[in-house]
């Protein structure tokens, strides 16, 4: 095993082992231990970044999907299941985002444990979540991908049901049942592909090798619906507002920040990768639904009266832009989707942290009861303003690239349909501004509604400032995310033509 292979395994194994250790060790050290594990997990993630340079020499050997480093051992041959992990330019930014957000959430939990259960259990669940999500992003075997995809489900259910708001059980049940429905379809798709092609190896499968046209159509349809539930794509989104609104702050952050990305990542890696003909066939429908999601998400946000629910619905619109980028199946669109994914994770993660902070202080999330935040807590209002302006896609901040270039990609695709979708998406961008400005006007401007204490705790600064800094950094240097995506994206789009 090379260093990078050790690091790949460590990336998944560390948080899993950490969760196990938390369950065994006494509760009083739980908080510090969990945060330490989350921090240590960042080490292999950082080391993996250097694998990129070492791999560039043999990148041309396998054109469709060439991981910087991969680790492959056979696990259950009968099921075409290998323990095959690998990282490339498409997955790496999401891996890094997951590691970062989990660390921030663990640190935040050290300072504030949401009511409902013990900190130890919550932290253990967060680490299991991290292991599952990282595994999903790193899996290079289709069946393994499915396994990790499922690992995430129940811990998230438990986080919502255990530490959530008043209607947490209902929301958690809806979340788990809805996404299980998607998982069933994903399983069907995975089995179809694995049995037909005789392998689950994504490196072999990418580009649609060994799959007939009709198999690809069927597989993509199954994948698309499954991932559309996760992403979520309108009209399969209704689990999301309830889950977000009821989840505790750290749950919302993980949910919006990285869990949704499993859907869009899966659509790119598995959907477009394994069934490119199917993707080409279904692209117009996907594009139309994505544009509908952008508009519907924005319009619904205009009518929301609750802070967290509004931000939850805003995710529908933002993920609509990401899905529109994917649906164009152009290199521009896919890269826009990749950076949009990361940007949404950073910005919406920050927004949920802030919404949590405001709700904890004001004891209400109703927009009508809030107001005058810039008078009572100017710093908090300033960061909220920054996050809102970033989220509405201000150029120079992270949110811009994904959204603007999704529009550019749709224009590039050309023709009546895609031009219309580009126009609709651009209008959706203006509506996004409308609801975020409405949010700011209700929360930060105007007379003071519910007084909010001005102080910001150290743990809060620790959780927020990396997100603020990265939002600015990705906005100014988009290459941070896109630097290694050219080759994989071109390989993906190359398979379509």
């Amino acid at each position: 095993m090379t260093v990078y292979q050790v690091m790949l395994v460590a990336t998944v194994a560390l948080p899993a082992a950490g969760a196990g250790a938390l369950a065994v060790l006494p509760a009083r050290h739980a908080k510090i231990l969990a945060t330490a594990v989350a921090a240590v997990t960042l080490v292999p993630i950082v080391v993996l970044a250097f694998a990129h340079h070492s791999s560039s020499s043999y990148a041309s050997l396998s054109p469709a999907l060439s991981p910087w480093a991969d680790y492959d051992v056979s696990w259950v041959p009968a099921l075409h299941l290998d323990f095959h992990l690998g990282v490339d330019g498409v997955s790496y930014p999401l891996v890094a985002l997951t590691g970062l957000l989990t660390l921030l959430c663990c640190a935040y939990t050290m300072w504030k444990v949401p009511p409902g259960g013990s900190a130890r259990t919550l932290l253990a669940l967060l680490l299991v979540l991290e292991a599952g999500i990282l595994g999903t992003f790193l899996a290079l075997d289709l069946v393994l991908f499915f396994l990790f995809f499922e690992v995430v489900l129940l811990p998230m259910y438990a986080v919502i049901a255990g530490w959530g708001g008043e209607e947490r059980r209902k929301a958690a049940r809806k979340f788990v049942l809805y996404t299980l429905f998607g998982s069933v379809l994903l399983l069907l798709g995975v089995i179809t592909v694995a049995v037909t092609a005789g392998t689950g190896n994504l490196i072999t499968l990418t580009g649609g090798h060994g799959l007939g046209r009709n198999t690809q159509y069927a597989a993509f349809a199954l994948f698309a619906v499954a991932f559309a539930v996760k992403a979520p794509l309108w009209p399969l989104h209704t689990w999301l507002p309830d889950a977000h609104t009821q989840a505790p702050t750290v749950g919302s952050v993980i949910l919006a920040g990285v869990l949704l990305k499993m859907g869009t990542y899966g659509l790119i890696r598995v959907g477009v990768g394994v069934a490119p003909l199917g993707a080409h066939w279904a692209a117009p429908v996907l594009g139309i639904l994505a544009a509908a999601a952008i508009l519907a998400g924005a319009l619904i946000c205009l009518r929301q009266t609750e802070l967290k629910r509004l931000i939850a619905y805003s995710s529908v619109g933002h993920m609509g832009f990401v899905l529109l980028g994917i649906a164009t199946l152009t290199a521009t669109g896919l890269q826009a989707a990749l950076i949009g994914n990361v940007a949404h994770g950073l910005i919406t993660g920050l927004l949920f942290f802030l919404a949590g902070a405001i709700k904890d202080r004001a004891h209400t999330g109703e927009l009508a009861d809030l107001g005058g935040l810039r008078e009572t807590a100017p710093r908090l209002a300033g960061i909220l303003g920054f996050a809102a302006i970033a989220s509405l896609g201000l150029p120079g901040l992270a949110g811009f690239w994904g959204e603007a270039f999704a529009v550019v990609a749709a224009v590039q695709r050309g023709g009546g349909l895609w031009t219309t979708l580009a126009v609709l998406a651009a209008i959706g961008g203006a509506l996004t501004a409308a609801y975020f400005l409405r949010l700011l006007r209700k929360v930060t401007h105007g007379p003071v509604g519910t007084p909010v204490p001005a102080g910001i705790a150290g743990a809060e600064w620790f959780a927020w400032s990396p997100l603020v800094a990265l939002t600015l950094a990705v906005g100014l240097v988009p290459a941070l995310v896109l630097v290694a995506t050219d080759a994989p994206v071109l390989a993906l789009t190359g398979a379509i033509r």
């Binding site: 302006i389 409308a434 401007h445």
Partner: protein, 636 residues
Amino acid sequence: MTAGVLGALIPGVPLLLGLGGLTLRASDDQGDPAPRRSAATLGIAGAAISLAVTLALLIFASTPIDANRRWVTIGGIDVTLGISVGDAALYIAVAVCVVALFVQIYSVAYLHDDPRYAPYAAQVSLFTGAMLLVVTSGDLIGMLVGWEVMGACSYLLIGHDRRLPEAPAAAVKAFLVTRVGDVGFLLGVALLIVETGTSRISVALAHHYSTATLTAALLLLLAGVAGKSAQFPLHTWLPDAMAGPTPISALIHAATMVAAGVYVVFRMYPLYEQSAAALAVLGVIASITILLGALSATAQDDMKRVLAWSTVSQIGYMTGALAVGSPAAALFHLLTHAAFKALLFLAAGAVIHVVGTNYLSRMGGLREHMPITFWSFVIGLGALAGLPPLSGFWSKENILTAALHATDGGGPAPVWVGWVVWLSALFAVAITAWYATRLLLCAFFGVSREHGPDGPDWEIGFDDARYTRPRTPHDPPAAMRWPIMLLAVPAALLGLVAYAPGFRSALELEEPHLSAAIVLPLVLLALGAGAAWWLWREAPGEDPAVALGPARPFLAAGFRLDAVQQTLVVRPVRALAGLVTATDERVVDATVEGTGVAATRLGGLLTAAHRFALPGAAVLVLGGALVLTLWFGAAS
């Protein structure tokens, strides 16, 4: 390359200092002046350094400066970090920096008791930097960044004043209306980028497009221009934006924001030249805007709103000049307008600072107490109306000549566009003179109306009736006075530089020729000003706007276009939002919930079907056993 780096400093320094300033602690407690001082230092330094760099480049560097490096490549589309400035761009940058510098200095005194001064100064820096980025960027995406950051800063700054209940709404309106225009701008940029495969402006300008694509892209860009430059029908945000602090009004109106749209058309002019259709649309928009702004300005009671509407009208002159094929005249007017409008707003701030009201009906008689402010107003309003030899006269003359010239044909624009622009511009000269004279008379002449139409009133109290003396107005403190006095110089004299060959060649401006054609505008000017003065003389102390009669409320409401916008856009969008939300809850989500409920019920039914009492169940089990036994017995 060094010139390129220096060029990047022009927008870079204010942007960086602005970002740094945002992290400063707001002075919550009144006692500590340190945060204020560092905020002021950062703000003033940002504008001053930019100004110095720009001047240095203008004097020492050989232009045009063009430098770029790769920023990011997205799907084969190269986005560059580029600086591309010619002399004209540098002159605009100088104007932006000068106005921003004066605004920063002025604000120190104007906002002396504002605890949120620190973020304010930082936002002004960001605003300035964003405008400079638009001016200097050699890349469409870079331009878009500046363009939108400006929108966001205008939002933050217009909503700054916490005491004004209308400020947050005005701020939202400013951002949203311009953002609606930006839908078009983004799509236009997207079209150009997709066609050329890069976002570099120089490539975009040299590329050969099909007529349909070009016209579509240019018209889409115009939507953004109309939003930012407050052109009909997206001008509605500008008068409301007066809720912002007065220095911000000066910044928005003189050098940033509204100038950006005009500058972008100027920057893309090689493309606009090729499209008569785009120029025709621009010409019609410009003509409507010129008249709309001028007529609406006649009826306003709020001094700042008079100036705001006059900006709408004057920007119309600039876009009109662009439409008739004279970008040089547009840019010249942009520069003179920057000088005299900044002067007017800063002077208006001085008046408001002293009188405590924006309303002309509560002013009057300020001439003796505020001589400096008065004379600034005389210069500013004279330039606005186009009184020779003040700056506005020369630039407006240029535009009228260009429009008249376009009526001969042969230019890039259709002949009828020349006529439309020329006639509306000419007519507006008289109206402008009228409302400028009215503003001057109402604010500075006659008696003080601070205590109502009947002069000083008596205050009722417990002891003997007390007489409240009107406060004695006075000229503003030095930090506010000096910017005003210094701005008066270019407002008065900038027109004469049209005779300076270096400047003229930089702008590609034609030599001023004072032919017989200037007589007509001057006569109209005299008519307009004379009419206002005559009305005032006939009924001293009475607002000349009374003469507008029943049309006055209509004009004061800006032709009620706000109501139209409310009916045509805002309400339908709200209704649609309600509809979509209801659909989402009652149809989409209800289906999901319904599936769950149906599954539960079905389960309940099946459970019920399995529920048997013990005897029945025993009989069934035994019966089953019997059947199986018989079955297998028969089989074997």
